[in-house]
């Protein structure tokens, strides 16, 4: 076979009908999952005590408490509240926020979720673009100085919590070197303000990818079929590019889906430190303020996000590994 053309045996075309059925089935399954998520969140939020309307030491007179409960339907039995809520989710009307009195949960999601997605995607791009090549190179040059440096860097990067890296980044690159870099110390407007938070958020996943890819690469490199490929006289670049990489990247793809979900939801600290108007901050503060509707709305949103991420991963899986495709067919 001429060099440079991918070997056809590794990727037979996906059958469109099969793919459609698979996606439809998975989308259908999200409905009971979401109902369960709502029920669990609903139950847990009610189980932790605390009055959603009392934010300061000032006690709320009983009559005012009653007015508030009536306004937010908290005076109704729990199953009515649950039913109202489920109806709201399926009509995309997630109700009013109990804390931000002039905002609905829809407003909050519409305004702040895109920011978190943007931040999460930038962080993910950083993690993949740097992390995967780093892992590949480290594996190909196992036990070299580069390998040691890359892995030391990965371990340190993985161990340092993001609040520390954020603070250090801010101190050095925005505060001390701000004259040269032009990085602002806070906010989310313009590309300069995107760089530091994206790197700070992406650093952990990046080191994770680097170590994961390195590990699986090393494992793949030991496989018989690699030896065969080498023995066949294939060029080393081709062996790595077609045989090693494709098989080594499967775990990374598997990890990427949930990780993207984690990055988007777990950006609370980064959002707080960089004063970014994302959804992560609302998520955490809504729990501490018992803003039930906001907590539920964001939980449902994030579960849908993670379900979609997993779906995409499963589809990609099929592209990368024909065996998984065959089993499902």
């Amino acid at each position: 076979m001429p060099d440079g053309i991918p070997s056809p045996i590794f990727c037979p075309p996906l059958h469109p009908a099969y793919m459609a059925a698979f996606v439809v089935r998975r989308v259908f399954w999200t409905i009971p999952v979401i109902l369960l998520v709502i029920l669990l969140t609903f139950g847990m939020m009610r189980a932790i005590k605390g009055n959603p309307f009392r934010n300061t030491e000032r006690n709320i007179p009983a009559s005012i408490q009653k007015n508030l409960e009536r306004k937010f339907h908290l005076d109704k039995p729990w199953y009515v509240q649950y039913a109202l809520y489920v109806k709201g989710v399926f009509t995309y009307d997630l109700g009013p926020s109990m804390l931000q009195r002039n905002q609905t949960v829809n407003d909050i999601i519409n305004e702040h979720f895109p920011v978190s997605v943007q931040l999460g995607v930038f962080a993910m791009i950083f993690a993949v673009v740097i992390g995967v090549p780093l892992g590949i190179l480290a594996a190909l040059r196992q036990n070299s100085l580069f390998d040691y440096l890359a892995m030391a860097f990965s371990n340190i990067g993985f161990a340092i919590p993001s609040f520390l890296t954020s603070t250090l980044f801010l101190y050095f690159f925005a505060l001390k070197l701000g004259k040269y870099t032009g990085f602002p110390t806070f906010g989310w407007s313009g590309w300069r303000s995107w760089i530091l938070p994206s790197i700070a958020l992406g650093l952990g996943p990046m080191t994770y990818f680097a170590r994961l890819v390195r590990g699986t690469m090393l494992e793949t490199l030991q496989q018989d079929y690699i030896r065969t490929a080498k023995a066949k006289g294939l060029r080393w670049r081709r062996v790595v590019g077609v045989h090693v990489l494709r098989n080594s990247l499967i775990p990374a793809v598997t990890a990427a889906g949930p990780l993207l979900g984690y990055i988007i939801t777990g950006s609370f600290i980064i959002e707080t430190i960089f004063a970014i108007p994302g959804i992560g901050k609302y998520y955490v503060t809504s729990v501490s303020s018992r803003d039930y509707s906001v907590t539920m709305g964001i939980t449902v949103l994030l579960s849908i996000l993670i379900i979609i991420a997993n779906l995409v991963v499963d589809i990609l899986y099929g592209v990368l590994d024909p065996r998984t495709r065959d089993q499902r067919a």
Binding site: I48, G50, N59, N67, R101, L170, T181, G182, F186, P277
Partner: protein, 544 residues
């Protein structure tokens, strides 16, 4: 090795591009306009005066709206004309005369009817305003607010509320009892009138820029939620010629370090977000550091059922080294409290005249002797006490200090930390029976000692101590009916003595009186945080 070279080369190129790009983009265009950049510590939960309850919303509202009453300089905080030009108080009848030249941003005049209808809206059970109780001093307000809209028609009760507008510029109010502080109370944002046609037209969204109609020195130009508010001068405001600022940029920064970085980087000129205790010693040396006295008290309450002996409570209150707490823990110029009513309140020095709590507590020989002498009088001392606090580093440090002070009296203190909302529920009233002592604070709603001392009446929703003294309640009731400020101060003094005096019942141990802190760049003139936690930017200017 070629691959490695390419890889690092790529990184280097990317970095070079970033640096070059940044250097090229030299910003800082100078404006002739007076622009103030200041951080606010939270996204304002609501810019609807009826719904706002927090200090951030109140701060913004005070720039956008014209308060009915403004308060004069501390400590007297005398009522001064705002939207209300003059007023008469005759017992329970209050008449307010509005100025004729106050206009909404749409050009329409602000009338007495606007005030009356706005108040009725806030009192209405449908709005479910948290601060509707601010109006409970008005005849019929509590009854109307308590009306159950799902069971009855509340319009009859609405008609009975004691506010009316006999003409375009006059508001008449009938109070349930003479409340000498009512005029001062009108300075609160809950009493601000709103432009109801805008509220009706835009519903919940009426506070968004473009929809909101205001009548104050500034207009809301932009509000990017959770990111930034922008105010611009309102050239039509009645006193616009004396407003020096043209634009106020308010990035929303919740994190103390982030705000401090922004200040250091020069992105903001006023930082009121709050400060990490570790930063304070350094900041205090800067000329930019400002401390403002507040009307507020940080205190420890005792569950008098758990610690029944008054002498033990006195011993514990006396044992606290307040001086050390404000010097080494809070560090922001807080004042050790000798009584509950903050001394900065009008008449405070008289009310607290008999304050006896030793400032150094057990860390001074006299204080230790005093605390031990009280402890010696206790027949059955409670030696094992649960101290409840909410989960915040500052409170934990103070609790640990107090634990060590009380240890010197032979009392073992178990510090129990709870999350804020659970904590509030746990304290009741009545408090959970396992509570021995707890910490809370109180910041004034209106500048009269009644707002503090009325916390400790038998049926007060903020009395978490189980303490109930009919004599005290009688004094509070007498204060409500005493118009004369001097006489009222004397009543407050008796109440304070009954509460924290040498012969008092000591259901609480006051710790310190609060302060507010801010970093303000020297070029910003006229910035001041009032004891009620208000800032009025129409008094602020920037010197070049």
């Amino acid at each position: 090795m070629r691959k490695k070279g390419t890889f690092w080369g790529g990184i280097a190129l990317a970095l070079a591009l970033v640096v070059a790009g940044s250097a090229y983009a030299a910003t800082a265009t100078s404006h002739k306009k007076a622009v103030l950049n200041m951080s606010v510590g939270a996204e304002p939960p609501s810019l609807d005066p009826g719904l706002a309850t927090d200090t951030t919303s109140a701060f913004i509202l005070n720039q956008l709206m014209d308060p009915l009453i403004r308060l004069g300089p501390p400590p007297a905080l005398k009522p001064e004309p705002g939207l209300v030009q003059s007023w008469q108080v005759k017992g329970t009848d209050v008449t307010l005369h509005l100025r004729h030249d106050d206009k909404w941003t749409n050009g329409k005049p602000v009338t007495a009817n606007d005030v009356v209808q706005s108040w009725l809206r806030t009192i209405s059970p449908e709005l479910a305003a948290d601060y509707a109780y601010q109006f409970y001093g008005i005849v019929g307000a509590q009854a109307y607010n308590s009306c159950d809209t799902s069971k009855q028609d509340c319009n009859a009760l609405r008609a009975k509320v004691g506010v009316s507008a006999p003409d375009k510029w006059t508001v008449k109010v009938k109070l349930v009892s003479p409340q000498p502080w009512f005029i001062q109370q009108l300075s609160h944002t809950s009493f601000l009138p709103v432009y109801l046609p805008a509220v009706q037209k835009y519903g919940n969204k009426w506070t968004e820029p473009g929809n909101i109609v205001t009548d104050g020195p500034f207009k809301l130009a932009a509000w990017k939620h959770d990111a930034k508010l922008t105010l611009v001068k309102n050239p039509q405001w009645r006193d616009a010629k004396n407003v020096k600022l043209d634009v106020v940029n308010m990035p929303i920064i919740t994190d103390a370090s982030t705000a401090l970085n922004a200040y250091k980087a020069g992105s903001i000129d006023v930082d009121t977000t709050g400060f990490n205790p570790t930063d304070i010693p350094k900041l205090k040396k800067m000329p930019d550091w400002h401390v403002y006295k507040a009307l507020g008290t940080y205190y420890y309450g005792f569950n008098v059922k758990a610690i029944p002996d008054v002498n033990q409570r006195k011993a514990m209150a006396a044992a606290i080294d307040r001086h050390a707490i404000v010097k080494y823990i809070t560090q922001s110029g807080q004042v050790p409290a000798k009584a509950f009513t903050p001394i900065g309140i009008s008449g405070g020095d008289l009310i607290d005249k008999n304050g006896w709590l030793p400032q150094g507590g057990v860390d001074t020989p006299a204080g230790l002797k005093l605390a031990k002498s009280y402890m010696a009088k206790v027949a059955n001392p409670v030696k094992d006490i649960n101290l409840y606090i909410n989960n915040s580093p500052g409170h934990i440090q103070i609790a640990q200090a107090i634990q060590s002070f009380w240890q010197k009296l032979g009392i073992t203190v178990n510090i129990k930390v709870q999350e804020w909302k659970q904590y509030l529920q746990f304290l009741g009233p009545p408090p959970n029976s396992s509570v021995g002592a707890y910490r809370l604070g109180w910041i004034a709603d209106y500048p009269d000692a009644y707002n503090f001392l009325s916390l400790w009446t038998c049926d007060s929703g903020n009395n978490n101590t189980n303490w109930c003294n009919k004599k005290y309640d009688a004094l509070m009731n007498k204060a409500i009916h005493t118009q004369d400020a001097e006489k009222r101060t004397k009543i407050y003094q008796q109440a304070e003595d009954l509460l924290t005096g040498k012969n008092g019942d000591m259901p609480i141990a006051p710790i310190y009186w609060y302060t507010y802190t801010a970093l303000v760049r020297p070029k910003v003139k006229g910035f001041f945080i009032t004891p009620m936690d208000n800032v009025f930017l129409d008094k602020v200017s920037i010197s070049s």
